[in-house]
């Protein structure tokens, strides 16, 4: 009976983890296929393994699984009762087999077959893991499965991989312990098992809390796609998946929801300036997202022609720059810097800029879209004078005001109130806009790509982000800023494109940038009378790349023009209560500053690192401690008896540490025999004979001292593993 309980205990975790491993195959199905009710299948897997674990008689297990499948099928298909199920199954099967085989069999049949498959899979897993203790094959299969799904399907396997790594660690340590126990009795399996649970948990926690490198390999999908570079016109968003991939999308009418990182290279640029890459602007906010302004006006310009599009008034100083762009993706619309003056390409094309969105497409002379590969843009890099921005009078142009301060009627009042609250005390439009831009930096808003909500039927996208979720990515921040600014009657629009990208090199003074789908971005442009459209960057973690300069007179007062006004403004802003005031921050004790600096996460990382270091020192003690002992005793003069007594005692400790425990009732000879059996030598026995002379006899004969030292050193070295 006791043995049975011990078996139940020692086989529980392997059974549990085998079941767990198999369920890892099921969870992704929810994301990648239209399979529902995953919980039913998972329960079935656990049921199977519970049967294996308690060693149910085969007929009972068969009956139990059969009943479960029947119950599940009748639950899933409302049309069949349990009693009618077999005949319905039979009929559907026959229909499919003899009838129309081009369609899929009925849902009930498919579910039934899937259950049978799970049954087989669980039996296979049980046989491999529970019986033969071979984890590697099922484990490797599972990891491969998750990796493939993560790479090629819109499924995020991060958590699954973390779980699997933990499980793998655990299985490795556990099985090693079982093997050591099978080899020799001198082994405390209990402590090993504790370690098997604790050490992987610690490693996982450290890994989870610790900082992570970005992916080191390029996304293979992007690589495969770019190998057969087929430009995809139009909508490249996955149509039916629940999770979108990052990238430049066309349809912004419904914003929100998480997205996945996608490292596909979009274009490379050789450029001297620093700016965002525009694609288009949108200006009709619907409460859920953005729509294009309805206008068919198109401005066409030829290859190499200087554009007559007015970006800013002449008060904005610009520096002329050129950039060379290689498109790897898309190719029908251009990416271009703000202040574009000229586009040149090798092929003869006509550029058509849609005035409603400022989106430029390349066409041939019949207005057919032509994919672009490579082109050179000339643009003016602006430097916005803050004085002129501050001095900008209210916008008078009625049509412009109407178009760029449009807001849906459903916009909640509290959004308008918030804008007033943020900008209270700000005199100029520029300062109001800056206050709103700054507001996002300090009021508890978080940049987040995974856990991002989609507004419900009666919810407003901006309202939800500003007041409820407070976490989102660039679309949330930029849309909210546009809406807030518009409530104050200041014209603003939403711009889409890419950030400047990753600097990958330098060539003749030009910088080489790589812009990937991950760099897709949206930001804000605000119109100032007498200046023009000025970009702003509300998104947390992003910095406005455009230059703003103060006049000389103002520079004297303000040493840090970008920072200090905002610093002063802060007191007027609604502040999250948890944040200490800036004054306290500056005068605080070093300790407080340290505490500020050490957020809980860094603290956790540091603690984990400390624990890990201590653990590593402890875990590797078998490597360094015996060496220390060797040194210690080598320095002492081997003077026979006394030396041997302490040296032998040290050897016993190291052997104990090595895993060779001497039971207290064991004599030294019995122990020496076991040690020698393990090391396949007779050194311990010989040394023990000499030691006996000292401890039980009358002393070690001088002629044996050398031999004792030699034997002792050999044995100590054997304990270093």
């Amino acid at each position: 009976m006791k043995k049975g309980v011990a078996r139940l205990f020692s086989s529980f975790l392997p059974a549990l983890f085998a079941a767990w491993l198999l369920t890892e195959w099921l969870w992704p199905l929810d994301d990648v296929t239209d399979t529902g009710h995953i919980g039913l299948f998972v329960s079935f897997v656990f049921l199977c393994f519970a049967g294996y674990w308690v060693r149910l008689p085969a007929w009972l297990a068969f009956l139990g699984k059969g009943v479960y499948i029947g119950w599940a099928l009748s639950r899933l298909s409302s049309s069949h009762s349990i009693a009618a199920l077999p005949s319905a199954l039979w009929r559907d099967c026959l229909n499919w087999l003899w009838g129309d085989r081009s369609s899929m069999p009925s849902d009930t049949v498919r579910t039934f077959v899937f259950f049978l498959l799970l049954w087989l899979a669980s039996a296979a897993f049980h046989w491999l893991i529970g019986k033969r203790q071979q984890w590697l094959i099922p484990y490797a299969l599972t990891v491969t499965y998750i990796a493939v799904l993560d790479t090629f399907f819109p499924y995020n396997g991060d958590q699954a991989i973390v779980r699997l790594v933990g499980l793998g660690f655990f299985a490795f340590v556990w099985l090693h312990g079982e093997r050591m126990r099978a080899n020799g009795a001198l082994f405390s399996i209990g402590r090993w098992r504790t370690a098997a649970l604790f050490v992987p948990a610690l490693a996982l926690a450290a890994g989870y809390a610790g900082p992570k490198l970005p992916p080191q390999w390029p996304d293979p999908v992007a690589f495969i796609r770019s190998a057969h570079a087929v430009p995809e016109p139009g909508d490249d968003e996955p149509a039916s998946s629940a999770v979108a991939k990052v990238g430049y999308g066309q349809n912004d009418s419904r914003l929100g929801g998480p997205f996945l990182a996608d490292d596909t290279l979009v274009f490379t640029a050789k450029d001297r300036g620093l700016h965002y890459w525009r694609v288009e602007t949108k200006d009709v906010y619907t409460g859920k997202g953005w729509e294009e302004f309805q206008s068919e006006q198109v401005y066409s310009f030829a290859n190499g022609e200087t554009i007559k599009h007015e970006w800013w008034s002449p008060r904005v100083e610009t520096v002329e720059q050129t950039a060379e762009i290689h498109l790897h993706q898309g190719g029908f619309h251009l990416v271009y810097p703000l202040g574009l003056r000229q586009v040149r390409a090798a092929t003869p094309v006509v550029y058509r800029m849609k005035l409603a969105t400022e989106k430029i497409e390349a066409t041939d002379d019949q207005a057919n879209a032509v994919p672009m590969k490579q082109y050179v843009v000339t643009y003016g890099e602006p430097d916005f004078p803050i004085a002129a921005l501050r001095a900008a009078p209210p916008v008078q142009d009625r049509s412009l005001l109407k178009r760029y301060t449009q807001l849906p009627k459903t916009l909640p009042q509290r959004v308008r109130d918030l804008a007033k609250q943020i900008t209270a005390g700000e005199k100029t439009a520029y300062d109001q806009v800056k206050a709103i831009e700054q507001y996002f930096q300090q009021s508890g808003y978080v940049y987040e790509t995974k856990n991002v909500a989609v507004p419900g039927e009666n919810e407003d996208y901006v309202d939800q982000f500003l007041f409820e979720t407070k976490q989102g990515y660039c679309d949330n921040f930029s849309t909210s800023m546009v809406v807030l600014v518009r409530t104050l009657g200041i014209p603003a629009r939403w711009v889409k494109g890419y950030v400047s990208g990753r600097l990958v090199g330098e060539q003749n003074g030009d910088f080489l940038y790589e812009v990937r789908n991950n760099d897709a971005h949206s930001w804000v442009e605000v119109y100032f009378e007498g200046v023009g459209w000025v970009p702003f960057e509300p998104t947390r973690g992003f910095v406005n790349p455009y230059a703003f300069s103060l006049d000389a007179s103002e520079e004297n007062d303000l040493a840090a023009p970008e920072q200090q006004p905002e610093e002063q403004d802060r007191t007027n802003l609604p502040q999250p209560p948890s944040e200490p005031s800036s004054a306290a921050k500056q005068d605080g004790h070093w300790w407080e500053r340290l505490v500020d600096f050490w957020s809980w996460k860094t603290g956790l990382v540091a603690a984990a690192a400390l624990v890990a270091a201590a653990g590593a020192i402890y875990a590797t003690r078998r490597k360094w401690w015996p060496r220390l002992t060797l040194l210690r005793f080598q320095r002492r003069k081997a003077d026979g008896g006394d030396w041997l007594i302490s040296a032998y005692a040290a050897l016993l400790r190291h052997l104990h540490d090595y895993g060779l425990k001497r039971r207290p009732q064991e004599t030294l000879r019995q122990y020496a025999k076991e040690v020698d059996r393990l090391f396949e030598t007779d050194e311990m026995n010989r040394l023990t004979r000499l030691y006996e002379c000292v401890v039980y006899g009358t002393g070690l004969p001088d002629r044996d001292v050398r031999e004792a030292v030699q034997l002792w050193e050999n044995l100590i070295k054997r304990t270093i593993s």
């Binding site: 004599t667 030294l668 025999k673």
Partner: protein
């Protein structure tokens, strides 16, 4: 009994000699020799026909020692053992006629079949090393070694030895049956000849006496003494034991261990000696509670429990 330790060459010779007659009982031979060297005596408890007599006779032949055998019967009188004074009409005085006990090696067969009176005559002679007849004490020859046997399966008409007398024996041994191979080997040897008649002396009595002298010189460290005492004290505290090992038992254990160490060519005693000997030295000195039988506990199992409980001292002088 696996000490993996070679014996003193002279003793190895004796053991080999005896082994020519007794097949596969090296262990019992070594232990008997231990008792002989420690000037103790052996009680062999075993069924008839396993070679008890052979063992004694082979030992005696190895030293060319005088061997006497006493078959104990219920009507045996003490004088039949220790001898009697007989009137010699020629000399007109009583003359001592030595009994069978006056010999170097005495085989006392079925000691539990005789009356307590005769038993105690034998035991006294064993303890004192002398016999007293008609007020005259006569020393027994040295070495003097008694190997008594008792039959464990027959209780009808026996006089079991009282505990106080049992511990006059240094060791209590069992021969046990030989294994199948050993028994076949035995048949081989006895097929054509009588091995006992073939063996000759390999050690003189003087050499034996010298060895007996050397036993006292074997060193017993304080560590080992403490181990002996700890073991013995544990026996007195064991819940299944009615009467534990007496101090005489401790002394016996030490003496036997000294002889045992000497046999193995050592001049000091190690805990292994104690562990090897304790079952033979101490088992018959324990009085186990009758109810312990229900737990299937006998003196042997209790002793191994005691040894499992008592930590072996591995560090002296510290």
């Amino acid at each position: 009994m696996t000490m993996n330790e070679s014996l003193l060459p002279a003793i190895e010779q004796v053991v080999r000699n005896v082994e020519q007659v007794i097949v596969g009982k090296r262990h019992v031979i070594v232990l008997s020799f231990t008792a002989l060297l420690a000037k103790g005596h052996v009680l062999l408890e075993d069924v008839p026909g396993v070679g008890k007599t052979m063992l004694v006779r082979a030992l005696a032949k190895s030293f060319q020692a005088e061997l006497k055998r006493i078959q104990f019967t219920p009507d045996l009188l003490p004088s039949d053992v220790i001898g009697v004074s007989v009137y010699n009409p020629k000399e007109r005085q009583f003359e001592y006629k030595p009994g069978p006990i006056v010999a170097h090696i005495v085989l006392a067969d079925e000691i539990n079949r005789t009356s307590p009176k005769t038993q105690s005559a034998l035991l006294e002679a064993m303890e004192e090393g002398s016999v007293t007849v008609d007020g005259i004490t006569r020393a027994l020859p040295q070495p003097f070694f008694v190997m008594a046997t008792q039959n464990p399966i027959e209780y009808e008409g026996t006089y079991p030895l009282p505990e106080a007398q049992l511990d006059r024996f240094l060791l209590k041994l069992q021969m046990g049956y030989p294994s199948a191979d050993e028994e076949i080997e035995l048949l081989h040897r006895l097929e054509k000849m009588k091995p006992l008649e073939e063996i000759g002396p390999v050690m003189t009595l003087d050499e034996l006496r010298a060895l007996q002298q050397k036993v006292a010189d074997v060193h017993v460290s304080d560590t080992v003494k403490r181990y002996i005492v700890e073991l013995v004290r544990q026996s007195r505290a064991h819940e299944a034991v009615y009467l534990g090992v007496s101090p005489r038992g401790s002394v016996a254990l030490m003496k036997a261990a000294q002889a045992y160490a000497l046999i193995h060519g050592r001049d000091f005693v190690i805990p292994d000696d104690i562990q090897q000997l304790a079952p033979y030295v101490l088992a018959h000195r324990l009085l186990v509670r009758p109810e312990a039988k229900w737990d299937k506990l006998d003196a042997k199992t209790i002793l191994s429990e005691l040894m499992a409980r008592t930590p072996v001292p591995v560090q002296g002088r510290r």
